[in-house]
């Protein structure tokens, strides 16, 4: 419990700063929405000659795309990008800090088991992540309903927001895994941004239609928001991959951490 509270306290400020930056981003996007919505008529005219089935086959419904949540689900990926970076940093920094600051051996002299050390650290990281998540999801909803005059479906908003957490968990798990395998991570922030943006860039290859097969490799592309908003729900196989990935990666990391030798400085 001591380790947990210590870690939570040292991360609280950064959790709030992360939330504020993501909220700023959300605010800018919501301000852009009106000018985006103006394009609806033009696009509908341009595509008037095409039967709706063709558009559906292409993967989107114009009414959904131009709705407030349709737009939000598109720009939302940048908020997810930031959240995933935060998640990976949290997953990685708490454990690797012990190795870089040479306190691992100190911690080991205390009467706590390794399992409880790693558990305390991951749950502290997770709590910071959840604090930011709740602030962002809650306050973005407030921004949406106060700045956009159209009715917005709360249930649909929550469906989109849940995917945010699922994706964050994948990067959190990757962070924990990197920490227990690499140990002395040179620059947690740098490596986290590098890896998360790397996946994001692959995701751009998927969304531009250049390489759709990469979708399974890119957490950002697991959930098709236009389909979710259209009432098709989640694609179950991706939800399963997502959850299994998190469980397996975290379990493997536990095993590696428990079995690893902790060297003194």
């Amino acid at each position: 419990m001591n380790i947990f509270l210590h870690e939570l306290k040292s991360n609280l400020k950064s959790a709030v700063i992360w939330a504020l930056s993501m909220l700023l981003l959300a605010l800018i996007f919501i301000l852009i929405y009106p000018s985006f919505a103006q394009g609806e008529v033009e696009m509908k005219n341009l595509l008037a000659g095409y039967p709706p089935q063709v558009l559906k086959a292409f993967g989107f419904d114009l009414n959904i795309l131009f709705s407030p949540l349709g737009f939000y689900s598109l720009v939302f990926q940048y908020i997810v990008l930031c959240g995933s970076i935060q998640a990976m940093i949290l997953g990685c920094s708490l454990i690797s800090k012990e190795f870089t600051k040479k306190t691992a051996d100190f911690l080991m002299t205390k009467p706590v088991s390794r399992v409880s050390v790693i558990s305390a650290k991951t749950s502290a990281g997770l709590s910071s992540l959840i604090i930011t998540y709740v602030l962002v999801v809650g306050l973005t909803w407030v921004l949406l309903i106060s700045l956009i005059s159209q009715p917005i479906d709360f249930g649909a908003y929550m469906k989109i927001s849940i995917t945010f957490f699922l994706i964050e968990m994948m990067f959190f798990a990757i962070g924990v895994f990197v920490a227990v395998t690499v140990r002395k991570v040179k620059s947690v922030t740098g490596i986290s941004i590098g890896i998360v943006v790397g996946f994001f860039v692959l995701g751009l290859l998927v969304s531009s239609g250049i390489d759709v097969d990469l979708r399974y490799l890119v957490p950002f592309k697991y959930y098709d928001y236009i389909k979710i908003l259209g009432g098709n729900g989640f694609e179950l196989n991706f939800v399963i991959i997502n959850i299994l990935f998190v469980l397996i990666t975290i379990s493997v990391s536990y095993v590696i951490y428990i079995k690893s030798d902790i060297h003194a400085a």
Partner: protein, 274 residues
């Protein structure tokens, strides 16, 4: 036996190259996979259907901006290269920013600075050899991305004349790489906690990228574009014939020069904690 100063400088340079070799190899591997996965998929105009083209043309700017496709035509190899090279550019910026910070910061982190500075070399020459090692990495990254794209373009789209476009985009990319490389060295030398430099530099890259997207989405935010180097040499405008704009080349060169000077000054004055 006395080792000459030159040999020692060369030694530091080689040691740095070796220390970064594994990381560089991983980056280059990733780079080749990205370029091959993207450009290798190019199939030419005859393969895309009419309705897809019509939909792409009608697509609002916001969406095209997000996909990195604004002003690019995916029916052409130039369009493909435009999309991919921008993705490479983002990664190149992160790579060089991290490299610049870590190469300076790691002596203190690994507590080797004391050891290094009892050797008969000045701080200036230590920095110089480190900078040359970092430059070698950055140039290799740039050259390899140029070569891989060029070879794949020649294979999938025979007879296309991409060379001058590729050259311009690569030069633009090098300027941006240098900017972030020296922003990294400058921060690592100037900050009290030099370990924070790489996080800040990569953070700046990320903010620049998001600023770039926002400035592309809405007229009212267009003014933001001067703030983001990613807007300076956009693949789309180079492909559409704009070339490298002198004013932006000048801005980047001046900023980079300032960062270099600041790196030397800060490092000279630095209290090396250990």
């Amino acid at each position: 036996m006395r080792i000459s100063r030159e040999a020692l400088i060369l030694n530091i340079y080689l040691r740095e190259l070796k220390a970064n070799a594994k990381g560089l190899l991983l980056w280059l591997l990733w780079l080749i996979v990205l370029i091959a996965a993207g450009m290798g998929k190019f199939a030419g105009a005859e393969n895309s259907s009419q309705s897809v083209n019509a939909i792409m043309e009608a697509m609002p700017d916001v969406i095209l901006a997000m996909f990195g496709m604004n002003g690019l035509d995916l029916d052409t190899i130039e369009g493909y290269y435009g999309v991919i090279s921008f993705l490479v550019l983002i990664m190149a910026a992160i790579h060089s920013g991290m490299l610049g910070s870590v190469i300076i910061a790691k002596e203190e982190r690994d507590k080797t600075s004391e050891f290094l500075f009892v050797r008969p070399v000045t701080r200036t020459s230590v920095i110089t050899s480190k900078i040359f090692a970092a430059l070698t990495n950055v140039v290799l990254f740039n050259l390899l991305s140029f070569l891989t794209s060029w070879i794949i373009a020649k294979t999938v789209a025979k007879g296309s004349s991409l060379s001058s476009i590729m050259l311009n985009i690569s030069v633009g990319m090098l300027l941006i790489q240098l900017l972030f490389l020296f922003m990294g060295t400058c921060l690592a030398s100037g900050l009290k906690e030099s370990g924070k430099a790489s996080g800040i530099t990569t953070g700046v890259v990320l903010v620049s990228y998001i600023t770039y997207i926002i400035s592309d989405m809405d007229e009212r935010f267009r003014f933001l574009k001067v703030l983001t180097p990613f807007k300076y040499f956009e693949p789309a405008s180079i492909i559409n014939g704009a070339g490298l704009e002198t004013i932006y080349v000048a801005i980047l060169l001046i900023l980079t020069a300032l960062f270099i000077i600041a790196t030397y000054i800060f490092f000279q004055k630095r209290d090396l904690n250990s």
